[in-house]
């Protein structure tokens, strides 16, 4: 899946367009996510940015991410049992997680089920699709044998 290259002014605009004041903390947090596209946890973001903003508080990371999710810029990935990961909100968009190395891959997947707006009378507003298995690199290393 190919990603758009975001400049710093793209990032600023994403924030202001949603009515979020582009503070240095918020810009760095969002920049980290759009530049890396590595489905980071709060800790990953915090540890990556604290060198640039030494006073950064983890609470700010939590607050910012919650705000960005609410505005629809980011989505939460509930793909790990014990921690929330974050990604750009680019839909429709599915995630594959390797059970060996833990890496998460993004894929476009257009399918008629994503077009459905209701099921059994319930109104569908959002789909989360997670795939699990063994990624191509781990298959190559281990040949996918021995219970891999």
């Amino acid at each position: 899946m190919k990603y758009k290259n975001y400049t710093i002014s793209d990032i600023k605009e994403m924030l202001t367009q949603q009515g979020i004041k582009p503070s240095i903390q918020r810009m760095k947090i969002l920049e980290y996510i759009v530049k890396n596209r590595n489905h980071p946890t709060v800790d990953m973001i915090y540890n990556a940015i604290k060198f640039e903003i030494p006073t950064l508080s983890k609470t700010t990371v939590y607050n910012t991410l919650k705000e960005l999710v609410k505005k629809g810029i980011l989505i939460e990935l509930l793909i790990d049992e014990n921690v929330i990961r974050y990604d750009m909100n680019i839909s429709p968009h599915v995630h594959f997680k390797c059970k060996i190395c833990g890496k998460i891959y993004d894929y476009d997947m257009n399918c008629e089920i994503f077009e459905k707006k209701e099921i059994d009378g319930n109104r569908i507003e959002k789909y989360n699709v997670y795939l699990f298995g063994i990624c191509k690199e781990c298959l190559k290393k281990g040949d996918g044998r021995h219970g891999n």
Copy 2:
């Protein structure tokens, strides 16, 4: 979605077939899940069963669920941000969660994407599909208006 009616000896057999000794704790835990089909959390299970087994420890509930997931009898639902829910492993099987009342519905959903065994060279072993929106009952109550 229609559920099978499980008897107590069905439950015992599910455990023994997987090489799990059918202790009273394990049988009651599994029975609660198969009889209720309400996607319970650890706390829901613990609180429901502790009257029948007053010495029950929450650790036993955690241990048992972990074991049943490993054996493939149950699946974990990562549909809430802060707690793991459990359900029978009946596939293919998707979950809808209402953002108003929180209720989770089960649906069969056969779709050609669930047949895919690989994507971009990655071997797919499992799909988790979560739908979010407003359920039919909440739509009826609120007419689905006012930002519902």
